[in-house]
């Protein structure tokens, strides 16, 4: 089928245009000093050409709607179409973000109830929906931790402790918040090194950022002890909710002792990832951080909903977006939660764990090396290709690329950084057993290929629109816009 598509600029001809799409005959008298002299080099194409071009481009992607996509830490589960349909009702799409409350009660009620539901599933006391992705949620969380210490005049607390398994956004966020990062190692069983934690804690400790289950795919069993240590040292606990899918309806971050959490609604609450975004990083806080929540949030008085702002939350860390974060994503999450309902929440963790543990069991049985063979998988787990890399010269990336030829998106590769040659595999609860079985079969087949003909695996993929791309060249001979280089 169509396996490549030229750049849109190749379809462009001077004077061509989809004129039905804009008002005819308008012109503006722009004073010379403000006037644009030369039109931007946007493509000039017909409507059909644009539709055909972008439809064809879309077909070059793997996606949940077309492929099993076990990308660890990313929770690529089914994005219900209903969420999209109902979030895109014309009234919601047409609503101006600053429209008066009197013509916004429907929208506000959805957000309010979403806040309430998120409080319930996380065990938190307050929720702000404004952060626009996980990383911005982290920012909000750490900024609140800092604001808390500052409000108590505890000004020395600028260190954020982060396990080595943490996602890159954790340390990057700490830095953005003006904190310094103290990294602590993980034990070989995947748990945190408590001794290292103890050593790291002190009067400078602002807090710790944890994912639990961690990105190693295992649950931190001594979480209560960790919480106590950190709290006793005067720090607060931040929960990176990227892995909330693993525990939804089973255990709540608030009950584990966390003071603040962000939730990737685009993971656990199944809003689509859109090829890179948008997401939503709603934050939840315990009692201590309530005064600092980012604004706006939605309050309810009687039957009336209204925005809460600096007047209501005077100690707020402020605004993180021009309006109300990724409102449309919030509506999608709301619809999803209403469709799951109470029982559905529990099932999320149950079946994501069932799928992960089943896949792990089958892969172990097939001879693959689990990074933490003695542990339960959470909703994801790690296998390492260290042995294959050493013995056969076929590494984790080679397996990943070859999986594409077999019709599966690759797991997350080389993350977390501490496990060599790792594949972080997250099947999610919405995949059927036969899909998991087929994935195991593919890995077994690739293993056999690697043993017989390593070069074949290393040359993969073969059946995609392009073969393996030269990343080094991409970074060295920068070609970031059409026309930047003399390439066609």
């Amino acid at each position: 089928m169509s396996i490549t598509e030229p750049l849109i600029f190749k379809h462009s001809r001077s004077g061509r245009s989809a004129v039905g799409q804009y008002p005819q005959g308008a012109s503006a008298e722009v004073p010379e000093k403000f006037r644009r002299r030369k039109r931007a080099a946007l493509p000039e194409v017909s409507e059909l050409q644009a539709v055909r071009h972008f439809t064809r481009l879309s077909q070059l992607n793997f996606s949940i709607d077309t492929h099993f996509y076990p990308l660890g830490s990313c929770t690529m589960k089914y994005n219900p179409r209903a969420c999209n349909a109902f979030a895109m009702l014309p009234e919601f799409l047409g609503r101006h973000p600053l429209a008066p409350n009197s013509v916004s009660q429907g929208f506000l009620s959805c957000l309010y109830e979403l806040q309430e539901m998120l409080k319930e599933v996380t065990g938190m006391k307050g929720v702000s929906l404004t952060p626009m992705a996980g990383a911005q949620g982290e920012f909000a969380g750490v900024a609140m931790i800092r604001a808390y210490h500052r409000a108590r005049n505890d000004l020395e607390r600028t260190e954020i402790i982060v396990p080595d398994a943490a996602h890159g956004t954790n340390p990057a966020t700490a830095t953005m918040c003006g904190c310094t990062v103290v990294e602590i190692p993980s034990l070989s069983n995947g748990d945190i090194d408590i001794d290292a934690l103890k050593a790291a804690l002190g009067p400078k400790t602002a807090g710790i950022m944890l994912t639990n289950p961690s990105t190693l795919g295992v649950f931190e069993r001594r979480i209560q002890e960790v919480a106590k240590l950190v709290h006793d040292a005067g720090g607060l606990l931040y929960y990176d909710g990227a892995n909330l899918n693993a525990i939804l309806g089973k255990v709540r971050p608030g009950d584990m002792g966390f003071d603040v959490i962000h939730m990737n609604l685009h993971k656990t609450f199944s809003t689509p990832h859109g090829g890179g975004g948008p997401g939503s990083g709603a934050v939840g806080v315990g009692q201590r951080l309530l005064p600092f929540l980012p604004i706006p949030t939605v309050g309810k008085e009687g039957d009336n909903y209204r925005w809460l702002d600096e007047k209501d939350v005077p100690q707020t860390i402020g605004r993180l977006s021009a309006f109300m974060g990724n409102a449309g994503v919030l509506l999608r999450a709301y619809v999803y939660m209403r469709m799951l309902g109470r029982e559905g929440m529990h099932r999320v963790a149950e079946f994501s764990a069932l799928n992960a543990n089943y896949l792990l069991a089958r892969l172990k049985k097939a001879g693959f090396d689990a990074a933490y063979p003695e542990r339960r998988a959470s909703h994801e787990f790690i296998i390492t290709m260290k042995r294959q890399a050493k013995e056969l010269g076929v590494n984790a990336m080679d397996f990943a690329k070859r999986l594409l030829d077999y019709g599966f998106h690759a797991p997350t590769t080389y993350f977390p950084l501490l496990v060599p040659e790792c594949l972080l595999i997250e099947p999610t609860e919405t995949e059927a057993k036969e899909e998991l079985d087929a994935f195991v079969d593919a890995l077994i087949a690739i293993q056999a290929e690697a043993e017989q003909d390593a070069a074949k695996v290393k040359g993969a993929p073969y059946t995609l629109p392009v073969r393996r791309l030269d990343d080094v060249r991409a970074a060295k001979q920068l070609d970031l816009t059409y026309g930047m280089r003399n390439t066609e």
């Binding site: 008002p23 080099a41 644009a50 990832h273 970074a475």
Partner: protein, 455 residues
């Protein structure tokens, strides 16, 4: 079980393969005391039909009032083709294009987007999006500090005609990093930066000067003079622009004698519906020399093993997943799907189309001002050239007027009295190509009625 494909038989087989007696046993590493008993506050599941009915009822509560609000979010025509393609599963339900070979659709589209945005803003390079316009400005300030090594002050000059929320967000985001903002007032009667106040900063260590064009009042700043002044005084220039307006107006890359250094803004006017405030997307373009200081994802063109062209994420060494605490930003997930919309939108309209939309919007806004100022007591506050927004003075309290208009199913604009108390009863109004002459008349007669306290 909604969205769960497992049959009872399969559950049994899977548990057997795992060697676990029950699904519950899979959670045995979680301390028992911590396990949730119930989620009482979560309502029962609704079927898709039921939730559809619920959402439509909520939507009906809000209705579809006639809108004259802009202030950073603008109602434009979006070709039906745009979202028909954007919501295709292959775009909608894909993750970030980490596996380049399996993501060429998204990657090529982003490369095309980068090309379009660079050209529209007159800059050399673009990233693949930031969250929104406001947070993009915050990132631009941080980037300016990194890029301008010679400046030690981390001091950013902003005009008070900058969208006030953009300033709030920037303050919140850079909070921990010791940047400072110096806010310069606007010229009364003109609504543009008081240049003399800028002149007064001569000789001081300024990291960057921010200019919004058109500014929050819809007025046009003397961007050439400000840009040249800033560069002459060793400050970088950050432009905040409405990308649609660039179809008419000189792009930031051509402001002054050498153009600005960083351009940011909100991409919403390019194919993204108002949708209650988001998701929109922030864009950022810059000069090639600063590319390594730019936050966010960047796509590059390269070749595959066979020498065939392909696209991939590049310069990842700037990003958090590689550089961790030393990254240019913590951003990871961005606003890819909205960029998809914008890229299709720009392709469908082309430069000619955007120009026509911008010109029509300006014309309708001018007509609106004319019609409204015929009402006794309604005046234009600022002289000078404007884009598609204007500040009006009303004879009475603006919030009361807006409430009364809302009852007539009109969203009348933004009350400026809290943001700019010195302007008194000031109202920011907007019209785009979506507002017909009949719409403008409807507003004018509603406003006249409200001001005369008619029912």
């Amino acid at each position: 079980m909604p969205f769960i494909p497992h049959t009872e038989t399969e559950i049994g087989e899977m548990l057997a393969a795992i060697g676990a007696p029950s699904i519950d046993a899979l959670f045995d590493e979680i301390p028992a005391a911590l396990r949730i008993k119930s989620l009482a506050a979560i309502p029962d599941a609704l079927s898709e039909m039921e939730v559809g009915r619920l959402m439509q009822a909520r939507a009906n509560q809000d209705g579809r009032p006639l809108n004259f609000l802009g202030a950073g979010a603008y109602e434009h025509h979006i070709p039906a083709a745009v979202w028909a393609i954007v919501t295709r599963g292959e775009f909608y339900s894909a993750y970030t294009p980490y596996q380049a070979e399996a993501s060429q659709g998204t990657l090529q589209l982003l490369y095309e987007y980068q090309t379009m945005m660079s050209s529209l803003t007159g800059m050399e390079v673009s990233n693949a999006s930031l969250y929104d316009g406001a947070s993009a400005l915050a990132e631009a300030c941080l980037m300016a500090v990194r890029a301008h090594r010679k400046s030690k002050s981390a001091r950013i000059v902003v005009p008070s005609t900058l969208n006030p929320t953009y300033l709030s967000v920037s303050r919140a985001v850079v909070e921990g990093q010791n940047l400072s903002f110096t806010v310069l007032p606007y010229e009364a009667g003109k609504g543009t930066l008081q240049f003399s106040k800028l002149e007064a900063l001569k000789g001081e260590d300024l990291t960057a000067v921010v200019i919004q064009q058109p500014n929050f009042f819809g007025q046009m700043e003397d961007v050439d003079a400000i840009t040249d002044w800033a560069h002459a005084n060793n400050a970088l220039v950050i432009a905040v622009v409405n990308p649609l307006s660039l179809a008419l107006f000189k792009p930031p890359g051509e402001w002054g004698s050498k153009g600005v250094d960083i351009v940011v803004g909100d991409g919403q006017p390019l194919g993204v519906p108002l949708s209650s405030g988001g998701p929109y997307f922030g864009f950022m373009t810059t000069r090639m020399e600063h590319v390594r200081q730019m936050p966010g994802r960047i796509i590059g063109r390269t070749v595959d093993l066979d020498g065939k062209q392909g696209f991939t994420l590049t310069l990842q060494a700037r990003e958090q997943h590689i550089r961790r605490s030393k990254a240019t930003s913590n951003i990871c997930t961005n606003q890819g799907l909205l960029v998809t919309a914008a890229t299709i939108h720009m392709s469908l309209l082309g430069a000619a189309g955007l120009e026509s939309v911008a010109a029509t919007s300006q014309r309708q806004a001018a007509k609106l001002v004319e019609k409204l100022t015929r009402i006794p007591g309604v005046k234009v506050v600022f002289d000078g050239y404007r884009f598609h927004e204007a500040v009006l003075q009303l004879p009475v309290k603006v919030s009361d007027v807006l409430d009364a208009l809302a009852k007539r199913n009109i969203v009348g604009g933004l009350d400026l009295s809290k943001l700019y108390p010195e302007l008194g009863n000031a109202l920011l109004v907007c019209a785009t190509e979506m507002r017909t002459d009949a719409d403008l008349d409807a507003y004018a007669s509603a406003l006249a009625a409200v001001l005369e306290r008619k029912p």
